[in-house]
Assembly symmetry: C2
Homo-oligomer: 360 residues x 2
């Protein structure tokens, strides 16, 4: 169904209207370096060209594009952040090149087609926020047949991990349930109302919150205990919204170390700036959000925890069926399901299991 | 202007659809005791009567009304919490008396007028959430001319306080600004973009967040350093929406102790259950959210901090003009302004000042 604009604004765009939030993104050095290098090491894509920045925020990518020599940059932004972007463009002497346009990408019109679409559209686990939809819409309407996408490619990764958060979340859930039982007892005693019929729905609500919601986490590289798999590859030039509405993948991951506890899965993404085959990048840039000591990003990783860790050893294999869909209540949120067959190195097969998670 | 229902749901009602949140209210003993006693110590208002519970949530007030002998209770709730309320009503054997109706009070229709309207509509500082509007609407449409309001009266209080939060918030603000200046420096150096033109709007944004937003706080009674003033009295039977849209009050507060630091104002409310003059309560109940060691509530107090505390002594007087309006962006939020003349016991008048706050 169609999305109510006011609700979408309240739930989603609103946070982007704070400079504080834009500053957080502008302070992510890995992110900044990747876009900066992708532009300034590939000036041939910008020199004398027309550029569209989808969701310009503070205007940073539009300003860099102009500094790299673009003839004209259209900088589109849905929130009032446009006022600040305009100010920034002017303070940096680029008002003749960068035109800031307030409106949602889907609604506005440009006076011409563009040579380059640049955008920082990536959400947690790549697709949370569903902002790539707006980039696709912009591409199909405004990119010249010879145009280039910045970034040009994206991939989603999943790997088995160990994490102490399993125990912590379990304890929190149990604590919440203990409190509930005390509450039911007190409410009956003090106020004569029997609340026990709400125990099931309350349990479900708390289970969803503590155990079935994926977590933002900065994983340490050694927490990844098995081979990582690519569950989706996106060519930004050709992918359609239908291609990303529902994502299905089957993969096999092998445990790489002995004496580990398989606690769940970590998920992350990378994007690449390669230009297009007819007009390749001179210098290919990668932006990865994989677990890293030296180059952590504000995206961190998404962590999907099992209810109970599984003792695991080198040579064990996990056969995973993965499905990801948009949440029915909010098209910018995601729901994923992991279906796992765990085969020990010895050949013994554990009881298969499946678990569903919400990316909120 | 009219309120967009979808946006109102996303911003406001949404939180009430979680049992977790309903449980927090149901665990507030001061709140629960007051409503429980108001009903069961005044059974004559309920016995054989028709009752409307505006915003029934879990259904608790409707259930108590039925247990106190009501003939029929209409329990209206805007969120899906109705499903749980229905379950609870049934589990407590009251499904013949309590009818749970899902919808917003403004939209639904009842088959008859009622003898009693009961509702727990109080937000922070009484009026945040603007839910009393819905109670007024219910009263004007559905209360019999002889009907009784539960609660029947409400008052808003303000008093000068001391609080260490003044320094803390000041430090946070300064820390945020230091970080900003480092960020501007780095962005120029590393990425060739001059962000200094955003310093003013960023300062304003952070000032609003750290210094101009009132705080939820559980004040200790001795933090109140001057006489408390009532800035609004509401008779729930007669007050109109116009009466509460904008609230103006002038009051004088006297500092009661020596060697204090006047750091700002604390605000709270109380409500009373007195029935109506033609049909008074047999036992009058008060629910107060004033600072208290023994009887704290989940409402706590709202704290409005000055930028710098003022050294104060017994006998000093503060002459305050107070104004409260609804926020232009969100009719459920409030904006207040304090205009102060501080007169020392010696007769010396300090420089008058005014400060604006957002109740978010
Ligand atoms: N459909 C749409 N139309 C216009 N702006 C959009 C949009 N979807 C998301 N945005 C905006 O896109 C921005 C994404 S955050 C990235 C901001 C900036 N390009 C930077 O790299 O720092 C947000 O400011 C958001 O408000
Ligand atoms: N206009 C309106 N119509 C229907 N329900 C409303 C409403 N405005 C607020 N509410 C509901 O009123 C409740 C207020 S909280 C109080 C819940 C319950 N009566 C108790 O005392 O525990 C919330 O559940 C909210 O969703």
């Amino acid at each position: 169904g169609a999305v109510d604009k006011g609700v979408d604004y309240a739930n989603y765009f609103c946070t982007y209207s704070f400079l504080y939030h834009q500053k957080e993104m502008l302070s992510d050095r890995v992110r900044m370096d990747a876009y900066y290098n992708s532009i300034f090491q590939n000036k041939h894509h910008f020199l004398g060209k027309t550029v569209l920045d989808v969701g310009t925020g503070s205007g940073i990518l539009a300003i860099w594009s102009a500094q790299a020599g673009a003839r004209k940059v259209y900088a589109v932004e849905a929130t009032k952040m446009t006022e600040h972007a305009r100010q920034l463009v002017k303070a940096n002497g680029l008002e003749d090149v960068v035109e800031v346009i307030e409106g949602s990408m889907e609604d506005i019109t440009l006076p011409e087609k563009v040579d380059v679409i640049i955008s920082e559209w990536m959400g947690y686990f790549l697709l949370r926020e569903s902002m790539f939809d707006s980039v696709i819409c912009a591409r199909d309407r405004w990119l010249k047949p010879t145009g280039v996408m910045y970034p040009s490619h994206a991939r989603i990764w999943v790997a088995p991990i160990r994490s102490h958060l399993v125990d912590q979340k379990g304890h929190h859930f149990e604590g919440a349930m203990e409190e509930w039982h005390a509450f039911v007892h007190d409410t009956k005693n003090s106020y004569g109302v029997d609340m026990s019929s709400l125990t099931d729905p309350f349990t479900e609500e708390q289970r969803k919150y503590y155990l079935q919601t994926s977590l933002w986490n900065n994983l340490q590289p050694e927490q990844v205990i098995g081979t990582a798999a690519i569950i989706k590859e996106i060519d930004c030039l050709t992918t359609s919204v239908d291609d990303i509405l529902s994502i299905k993948a089957n993969f096999l991951s092998s445990i790489l170390d002995d004496d580990m506890k398989f606690s769940g899965f970590g998920g992350w993404f990378d994007v690449h700036f390669r230009g297009r085959s007819e007009s390749p990048a001179e210098s290919e840039i990668e932006l990865t959000t994989a677990p890293s000591y030296e180059n952590p990003t504000h995206w961190g990783q998404q962590v999907f925890l099992l209810n109970h860790p599984i003792r695991s050893s080198k040579g064990d294999n996990i056969n995973v069926s993965f499905v990801m869909n948009r949440s029915k209540e909010n098209h910018r949120l995601l729901e994923v399901e992991f279906e796992c067959e765990y085969k020990q190195a010895s050949g013994r097969l554990l009881q298969p299991f499946r678990k569903k998670f919400f990316i909120e």
